[in-house]
Subunit: 658 residues, 2 copies
């Protein structure tokens, strides 16, 4: 039975939830395929996440391995293949709670970096799980700056082997997933030395554990790096190499080869390799970043119409907390952001598909733009979504703090996305470097990529809005975002130029501008996200009910960004204080409008109760019942030795020494 | 041996670290007492936190009980008493990792709410631990809004007993600490009914577990609420009452009494009771909020001078990450905030001591101001410090994400402070209500409390700063903060008036202004924090070296607040865009100045390695060594059944069904 406070919210939806779900999935057929996968996974008890919040790191690891192994069987049974339409929904249906993700990265790195011969040798072994792979790049002392890696691989002409070593503690491999306990092989990135000369970082396939009994191979020290904020199910590992010899054939050699006599040969273009890095950043957005935010919104919004607290008007029943303006102001902008970034993700995917086709045709022109966009959006979206999940958690008060709400683990997991696959600040500075370069080029009348042509067209007007309704016009707010992005880019470029002209060294000048460069990169991405959302809404013209609510969300996303960052828009007088008051009024009005459809808007994300795994967020809204039932199963409700050991003696005063 | 990258930072300190430590402690004698307590606690292996990051919730609970029991013995041995000067340092030295905190709240509630007879009966029992107490207020369905609590206590004239019941699931007590597994007694808050009439919420002493064998008493269902984001060591509990009878004498009756015939008598003034609530909010700031931020700053800043990554200049050694402007901009404002709020806390403590003296003299005039300040600062400081700890965590990249860094548990623990003892948004709205009231009174020429007299003196000038150095003048920035606080309060008051005059009901009008009211309350607190920091710095005139660096931190705290919230200052043209550029320049300059003293400034917090419990933050900076050593001790480095069960069959292809 559905809690009537929640059920009532569904009866007044201004649009068809089912049609919106199909829109988000990319079509009715996709929705069907996704639901079939979810059904198959969730009805199989081996994939259960039921006791997850009670499990230790060891138990989580064991379950993830069990699921990974069982998944092979399941895929076979169901006829799912890695190239089939179901594949992309499997990981989502498992909520990522499965081992051997790095085994896939191991395989991909061989496919991308290996020679045809290496691919022919290793990929079948990996596919059949005759080995378990990992990917050992990051070291204790080096993450972002790959050139700084300290592991060495010295070529020994006599034996035709590379000798791998960890010369000091900071060179120890640290973090590789699946490596702490599972992997038998890994791709080690090391500085290549031939005849005493360093040729930089290269990848080597290294066996680390016996295929017979899983014991560590000679010269190998490896293990698990211990507890983390989340990812308990993954055995992130460490690896120390001492004179480990691998045959010459184990250096992945699509782009560089070492000949038997020690001659170093570079071959082919590595550009496609850089492209792989950027696509990884885009592909993580959907599963690792958007889904957690959508789940958090679903949980917090459903809870906020079930939870009643205090009174809006004296004498009335206690109010649903979502009826408080402050609660709306916490949650609804996160909901709008979830939709905004969903469409940003579509935009990026499309752009990258196009980029990929161009690259296949040996046209690499799009690469700088793709790199800048993928870096900037990875940083911007992970940052926004992480903050959004935290807001959802806190908006649920004490119950949000219970692991049983599901929110703490969503938060502690999504937080990692700000760090992995490129630390966000570093990525934003990459985007900024591209922006500055393009701004300079555009100022000099040179052509620039499509996403930054706006930098050339600096307009010095003022925002034309005359009343609060004007701020519901996409032209008005998109232009305002554009103006800010141009201003921040141009003023930082000017500061940079001034510093250099005044004699500051180029690198120092850059460092002194980085705080502002980061702001410019964020403004650029925010502008594109707003513009893309507005354009997406426009294209929905045939779907009236959906278009209307999406327009509201687009407006909210845009106005929330202005409201939260008014200074950027006020700075040069483009927007006046009076106009900012209109923004505030329009923004607060929108909250009350969207609040009416809040529950249908999260229902459209179509999460099952199992995938939410939340006592607060279930479809039926029976929050208190579920919290109580789940708590009773907690291991903390078993007898503790603390009673006999400490409490009993204390209470019975046999602690006589007191 | 100290890592030379860290050691070098200490040689160039511009001030005496030892003298700054004494200043923070409130005198050299206090430092000595604190260190003696820390030494006694940390040298006792029973209090060890060594394996904390590897322990389960059950193990953490058991350890916390063990420590609580051992602490009694320790205090006796050391001659420490609850009224002695050492007492306040014990909890800090234990990093809060101890049970029976609610036992103290149980005792305090009896002292404050109980009659002399009740105090005489229960306090000795509690002091001697003949019982273990808890405090059962919050329910599954009710936290903030006390009047909404649903537990009932019906007076039975025939037996002279109260009959306590949990009428429905949302009325179940939920969250009380020490209650899930330890407590034998608790203070239950329930709606009092006499002859069918409800007299509102009252406190009742209820025994829940047998003193003989710890089994649950008749009519009692109780247990642990399960896993949380942190506080694994605390057995937060649930409690369900079914016709539980307690004698008439068990209702705490300092302020209200039920006579044998059922007559309800109210006596004395409850105002001192409200004062207790406000002092709890102030007292938590130091231990639960400031210390975690100071620890996080210590860890992140020490790590940032040891970690080298990428190059600032080509050809040079890799740079310490603290030399990057973006890293400075993350960490140094948190350091400045830690100092700012340290002094805010001193200011609040002093104010509350004064308030307490007045109340003893039956003068309750200060109560509304104290309530507004304690509410606003509790919200503002918990919010800022929580965000600060998260920034520190993320600024340490991957290693910050390891539990071994200490940062995740600091974050997950401090986060709770935004929720408990009054949810922050609710508290800010209390402050706002006070501000609006005082603004109205001041506008009408009536007298208002000292902290808000500035609301009366609205000045319509502009910020007089002419260059970036002017923004290092406390008068300039304090005035700017004041201006913003007045503007936000007055404009929200005007909006509220307008709505009401246009016919909107008072409660609806209030709700429609709450987002802006929260802004006004924050601005008020921020203004007072800045002003107080500036005044504190001024009083340090005889301590030259320290005054200089504190002045820098005060400037940074103030300018960071403007830089992060430029819109509030630009909105009505009080500050111009050109002046905002000066703020930015002055702010970025300050980062480079304070960076030089960053390590001495965190050293002055004087945390021992044991209390930091961080592989990244130790005094000697041997980060990588420590991470490796600790990881090897992790239970995840023991043999897992996953190998025999899943990996071996997979690798040996005996999973023939595939």
């Amino acid at each position: 039975s559905v809690n009537p406070d929640l059920g009532g919210e569904r009866q007044t939806a201004s649009f068809s939830v089912e049609r919106l779900t199909a829109l988000l999935d990319g079509g009715v057929e996709q929705t069907q395929i996704r639901r079939a996968v979810v059904e198959a996974i969730e009805s199989d008890p081996v994939f259960s996440r039921e006791n997850q919040y009670f499990q230790t790191q060891n138990e989580r690891y064991e379950a993830a391995v069990r699921k990974a192994v069982h998944l092979q069987k399941k895929m076979h049974e169901m006829g799912w293949t890695e190239n089939g339409p179901e594949y992309k929904y499997i990981y989502r249906a498992l909520s990522g709670d499965v081992a051997f993700l790095l085994h896939r990265v191991f395989m991909r790195s061989i496919s991308v970096l290996g020679s045809d011969r290496q691919i022919a040798k290793w990929i079948p072994l990996a596919t059949q799980h005759k080995l378990i792979g990992s990917y050992a790049q990051t070291e204790l002392g080096h993450g972002t700056y790959l050139q700084g890696l300290e592991t060495t691989a010295v070529f020994d002409t006599a034996t035709q082997e590379f000798i791998l070593n960890t010369p000091k503690i900071s060179a120890m491999k640290w973090w590789p997933g699946d490596m702490g306990r599972s992997a038998t092989h890994t791709v080690v990135f090391a500085q290549l030395y031939i005849h005493g000369k360093c040729y930089g970082i290269h990848p080597f396939i290294v066996q680390i554990r016996s295929l017979q009994d899983h014991s560590l191979c000679p010269g190998i020290t490896a293990g698990d790096i211990g507890p983390k904020m989340n990812f308990e199910h993954i055995d992130n590992g460490y690896l120390l190499l001492k004179n480990v010899r691998v045959p010459r054939e184990n250096m992945l050699s699509k782009f560089c080869e070492v000949r038997p006599d020690g001659t170093y040969v570079r071959q082919g273009s590595q550009q496609i390799n850089y492209f792989t890095m950027t696509t990884v950043r885009v592909s993580l957005i959907s599963d690792e970043v958007l889904i957690p935010l959508k789940k958090a919104c679903t949980i917090a919004i459903r809870y906020s119409v079930v939870r009643r607290q205090s009174k809006l008007k004296p004498g009335e029943q206690e109010a649903k907390i979502l009826d408080y303006q402050t609660q709306q102001e916490k949650l609804l902008p996160q909901l709008a952001a979830a939709y905004a970034f969903h469409f940003t993700n579509d935009y990026l995917q499309e752009l990258f598909d196009r980029g990929y086709r161009e690259i296949q045709r040996k046209n690499f022109d799009m690469l700088p733009e793709l790199h800048a966009l993928s870096s900037g959006f990875k940083a911007m979206i992970t940052q926004h979504c992480t903050a959004g999940v935290e807001i959802c958690l806190r908006a649920c008060g004490g119950h949000g703090y219970s692991l049983l709400s599901g929110l703490p683990s969503l938060y502690t997991k999504i937080l990692a996305s700000c760090i992995y696959e490129g630390e966000n600040t570093i990525l934003l500075l990459q985007t900024a470097r591209f922006l500055i370069k393009c701004f300079m080029a555009a100022s000099a009348g040179q052509p620039v990529p499509p996403s930054v042509t706006y930098l050339a067209a600096v307009k010095h007007g003022k925002c034309p809005a005359k009343n609060k309704l004007d701020f519901l016009s996409p032209d008005i707010y998109t232009e305002a975002y554009q103006h800010v992005a141009v201003r921040l880019t141009s003023s930082t470029a000017a500061k940079l130029q001034d510093l250099i002209q005044s004699g500051v060294k180029k690198h120092d000048a850059w460092n002194q501008c980085t705080v502002q460069l980061v702001q410019a990169a964020k403004a650029h991405c925010h502008y594109i996200a707003v513009k893309n959302f507005a354009e997406t809404v426009e294209k929905l013209e045939t779907k009236a009910g959906i278009q209307k609510i999406m327009k509201h969300l687009c407006d909210l996303f845009a106005l929330h960004g202005i409201f939260s960052n008014t200074g950027a828009f006020l700075h040069d007088g483009y927007t006046s204080g009076a106009q900012m008051d209109m923004v505030t009024a329009a923004y607060l009005d929108l909250l009350a409008v969207i609040r009416k459809d809040a529950v249908p808007l999260v229902d459209a994300f179509d999460f099952t109760d199992q995938s939410l795994n939340s006592a607060l967020g279930s479809y039926d809204g029976q929050v208190y019942q579920r919290l109580y039932e789940w708590a009773q199963k907690s291991p903390t409700n078993q007898m503790s030795p603390a009673y006999e050991r400490y409490l009993k003696p204390l209470l019975h005063n046999t602690l006589s020494k007191l």
